[in-house]
Symmetry: C2
Subunit: 415 residues, 2 copies
């Protein structure tokens, strides 16, 4: 099995070389062919999915996991439509980022190039398999997918259809490969495949991401974890604050851009906290605090992680802070540098919050739920980077590219 995986990764690397010089038109045709292929293979894919679902139920997979694992005709049609839309996006490859001519006549051009082979580790979400195959083609990268044993049969059926489609467009089928069959060991070896994997993106639980960051010797983009804050400043428009907080907390709770902590300026806490808390409670949200809150009876204690808890559920922590400085300090200390918003009519306070909060996305008078590749108009999203190196925030096609300096001379040598 060991040799199999090495051979597989070597095939990916070889395939990436061919893909890297394939014209955008061919890559876009391959994406469209994938859309058609998964539609045509719907029956086979759903049969495989039914097997995965049955195994999942037998092994006691949680309902939420089973729902994410589930494919049906409507979901497959949605994946195909998303693929076709992605094929319309501008091609990032070859874009000229910087150009200069040196005094000695050397012409320097910095252009966007694909990474080569991008590995992605995720869990039981077969829709991601199709997305990533298409994003890979859109950015000129071969992808090696580790989608989790719970979705192994579904992913295998999808990847087979994808590979056939890609091959039909004259590209090597190995530009998209799955390593689910290698189990947990496969993920670990992906993390150490220096020279074969150019970038590794973990998507999923904090535990998964921690493991990848700790074990990986290939460059990693850390994604996802979102201890997201809203700060209701003393100069906030209270109805606006209420709207934004309710939306950020309740519109969808299991996502990384959902609100986890509400901070309220002490000067308005007596009115703002009860107003917002009651509305949240009426919406079914449990309020957590580390002590008494104005007008809130019996707040629950903070989660196990204290102020750094990511609930991903109908729970929110509320804290009262002395001033803007304390709010900024709190966010930087306990947040995950994902998304944080200030609600205020004070432009100076907003400017300071936007400058001093050290997060991928900082907002003024907007819901944190907007941190999303689709909402940002990226068309496709690989994940949301919470690290500062390479890419920060939602990652679309350009974020899956590297660069290269091309130097053209006429025999120049260095003096």
């Amino acid at each position: 099995m060991a040799d199999d995986l090495d051979a597989l990764l070597t095939d990916s690397k070889r395939a990436s070389r061919a893909l890297g010089v394939a014209p955008a038109g061919q890559r876009h045709e391959a994406i469209r062919a994938i859309a058609t292929a998964i539609e045509r293979a719907t029956d086979r894919i759903l049969a495989a999915n039914a097997e995965d679902l049955e195994r999942g139920r037998e092994s006691g997979l949680a309902e939420g996991m089973l729902d994410r694992l589930l494919l049906d005709e409507r979901r497959i049609a949605g994946l195909a439509a998303a693929a076709r839309a992605l094929a319309e996006l501008p091609d990032p490859i070859g874009e000229v980022l910087r150009e200069r001519t040196l005094p000695n006549g050397l012409e320097l051009t910095e252009v966007r190039v694909p990474f080569g082979v991008v590995g992605v580790i995720y869990e039981a979400r077969p829709n991601v398999t199709v997305d990533l195959a298409c994003i890979g083609l859109g950015s000129g990268n071969a992808v090696v997918l580790r989608g989790g044993s719970a979705a192994e049969r579904t992913n295998a059926a999808l990847v087979e259809a994808i590979q056939d489609a890609v091959e039909g467009e004259g590209l090597p089928r190995e530009v998209v490969q799955t390593i689910d069959r290698f189990g947990r060991d496969g993920a670990g070896r992906l993390m150490r495949a220096r020279g074969l994997i150019d970038l590794l993106v973990p998507r999923g639980s904090a535990a998964l991401i921690d493991r990848v960051v700790t074990e990986s010797t290939v460059p990693v983009i850390e994604t996802g974890a979102g201890v997201v804050h809203a700060f209701v400043d003393r100069a906030a428009d209270l109805p606006m604050a209420l709207d934004i907080v309710l939306n950020a907390k309740t519109q969808r709770t299991s996502v990384c851009n959902a609100l986890e902590t509400l901070l309220v300026h002490r000067d308005i806490a007596e009115t703002a906290v009860p107003t917002i808390a009651v509305a949240l409670q009426q919406a079914g949200v449990t309020i957590h605090a580390d002590g008494a809150l104005p007008g809130v009876d019996a707040a629950a204690p903070l989660g196990d992680g204290g102020w750094a808890t990511e609930h991903l559920s109908m729970d929110v922590a509320i804290g009262v802070v002395d001033d803007l400085d304390a709010a900024i300090e709190h966010v930087n200390a306990f947040g995950t540098h994902h998304t944080d918003t200030i609600i205020t009519d004070d432009e100076d306070a907003a400017a300071r919050f936007l400058a001093e909060v050290d997060s991928a996305v900082v907002m003024h008078n907007a819901s944190t739920r907007f941190t999303d590749g689709g909402e940002f108009g990226f068309g496709a999203e690989v994940g949301i980077s919470t690290q500062k190196a390479h890419a920060r925030g939602p990652m679309g096609l350009p974020e899956l590219t590297s660069t290269k300096w091309i130097v053209r001379g006429t025999g120049q040598v260095r003096a």
Copy 2:
């Protein structure tokens, strides 16, 4: 000691927040103040350097290391001049990279921001200490420097002068700190300081870089190792090839952009190999091969690493390849993705080489010695990245920055 290092890194993080919002003018003044400070402290710095040199001689440090460790008045004046030049470079911070207004009225702006705290691990090169302090200020980053125990006293004297200068300009002195006194353990803990170190750059030996890449849980930029190739195509201008190969191999040998492997197209090998080989031998270069070479008597065997050997000395490996495809395959298989050049008058061959060789810098008819931040006009260089994530090739000030999305709304919530 453990608590000391944690406290030191926490101080760096706090200082980075102040530096991150300091205006460019103040940061540039601080760089100029550093230039003046190290000039004024020359006596104290040279005294500390003399102690390091004596300890180095006693412990049997190699002559090359001792030379890199040595400071004198001329070198200090050079460092001050370089610092003053760096203070004239454009400020990358706040640069707007992308802007868009969404249909719902949200205004998105992507701006350059500092990383925060950048750690650098290097070996016995006190000049790098001054460079990095200034590059940090120029890019808005606090730096934590691990410059090696051999240079501990020199670095301490330099950092003291630097900190006084920075403080004199109203910035926290902790924006530049050294952890040499924590020894090897300090480097290891830097690698695992998630949340405190935003980026780690190892500079130095392949062994050091390997250790950092393997052990680090913070984002790393891999730098340096250069198994650099020149391919003399069948359509090469032979005198030009000779010039470039001689320059790339012999102009300076201990650097990562020096030539290590010369590949020659079989169609011209009978004339090109002897011509170039004789010139290299006359220049004092030892030729290595894995068999007989046309017109070369008694080539030495390849190094221990075979075709992947980085000699960093007056040694070169020469190979004959069947064609352009074989050359590209050889470079991608055995190179370190640093810099590779093709010498040819055939534009099609050049275009293929530039597109298909997977290196940070690819060249046509130019010496590989030009891969350098100074030569590229960057003004300052942190190192040369050989990885694809974040930065590739010479790293100047913009490469030491991250980005941030600023979202300005008027109460927008997600539907």
